[in-house]
Symmetry: C2
Subunit: 256 residues, 2 copies
């Protein structure tokens, strides 16, 4: 139902006093993309509750100082990701969480623009614990020489720069991407794009809280060795412990 009165004011998280509401588009970004990000992160982070009605298009686009067209295109993006639903006269309303495309890369990114709920991170790691060992198993059976080469270089880069540097984290992503590529399974790879992004965010969290309490390189090496040897069971097991430790680190980091 409709809450009376103060119901749903646009956020315009007022750092500026005056009408600086216009979402300036960052590097090369399109305007409607910026609006979509702004609205999307606002929804995912809970500033709009499921069932809430957004302000009307005309009014909202006015307060944002953008044209209705740009605003509408942004809303279409949110509709495409299952965050909101628009019906004539009823307005645009936030859908319940179970309709959201949580594995959409953008939605995941938006979820990590703010402090994500600990439960959600738990769910994500649980999915990782399901998918990644199985992926490692598949990779062990199907990898070719090129896959191993890419993983090896990524591993070397991880050793050289630690996970504290951005280049080091990029190498970590490369390692996991190469592993998933070796599964020869498009669906699994697509999942990785989502989970991988989330994982990189949680890695940043870990770093932010304190120094990494444990050197993750040996775990990665064990995974690599098992895949190189074509030992599917060992690869799965090694990956399982790797994810376990990552979860443990993240959890302790977030409690602090």
């Amino acid at each position: 139902m409709e809450e009376a009165g103060e119901a749903l004011v646009p956020m315009q998280a007022g750092e500026a006093d005056q009408a600086e509401a216009r979402p300036k588009r960052g590097t090369g970004r399109r305007l409607h993309g910026a609006i979509a990000q702004k609205l999307g992160s606002a929804i995912v982070s809970g500033r709009y509750a499921p069932g809430d009605r957004l302000e009307g298009e005309v009014a909202f686009s006015e307060t944002l100082n953008v044209s209705r067209s740009a605003y509408r295109e942004a809303v279409q993006v949110l509709v495409a990701k299952g965050l909101v639903e628009s019906r004539t006269k009823a307005g645009t309303r936030v859908l319940p969480r179970n309709r959201w495309n949580l594995l959409d890369p953008d939605v995941l990114a938006w979820a990590f623009t703010g402090e994500p709920h600990i439960d959600f991170i738990r769910d994500l790691f649980e999915l990782r614990q399901i998918v990644e060992p199985a992926a490692a198993s598949l990779a062990a059976q199907r990898r070719d020489r090129d896959d191993l080469a890419v993983m090896k270089t990524a591993l070397a880069a991880m050793r050289k720069y630690s996970l504290a540097t951005e280049t080091g984290r990029a190498a970590d992503r490369d390692f996991h991407n190469a592993l998933l590529q070796a599964t020869r399974n498009e669906a699994v790879v697509a999942l990785s794009a989502s989970i991988g992004a989330a994982v990189s965010w949680t890695t940043q969290f870990k770093q932010r809280a304190r120094a990494l309490p444990r050197n993750p390189i040996p775990d990665h090496v064990r995974v690599y060795d098992a895949i190189a040897a074509g030992n599917a069971g060992a690869a799965a097991e090694a990956m399982r412990t790797l994810v376990d430790l990552a979860l443990e680190d993240t959890r302790s980091a977030m409690q602090a």
Copy 2:
């Protein structure tokens, strides 16, 4: 209450033969949604190859007999799903497959509007074989009385009507949905919601090819019993065989 009904009309179910005619929107469907579906399925089914450039907005929207605004909103949907990318002056180009959000429900649906590649189905079932046994295991550990009740009624409905009827298939979906809900993991639920939709399409394929070669009820019962008993290992194993058989059936049906 929310009319869940996406039983909404499949537009232009008949012939798409007519040159490039205006995409008539089925009851309640928005125009840009229809365009997005048309373009999306064309891309996913391969009628546009990755790297191809779409016709310019003005020209294309003219041949479709729609306004540029509607066309643009449709394109934004495709952008949101990673299918295309638009850049000034360069035009709108189809992205490589690894950029697509394959687990997006709409993308999956579009993939099954035409004859999907057998490899893709294989990938999908492989992912199912990874996720669903693990989900059953989680469900066995976390289900409560309500979950079991819902699953039990769904099971009864499946027994009453077979999978040959739509109500029977709906009961099948209910069963799997209840199972996933019992995992208490939003990410797993979201993933399986996508895959589940695709699976229901393959089920229809099976039915179309020939009568279901095997009674699937006992397999479901085994899964239910294991979950009810809280036996995680048995639940995973039962689900594994269930998915295995489903894959086998689908494969033999598609070879015919």
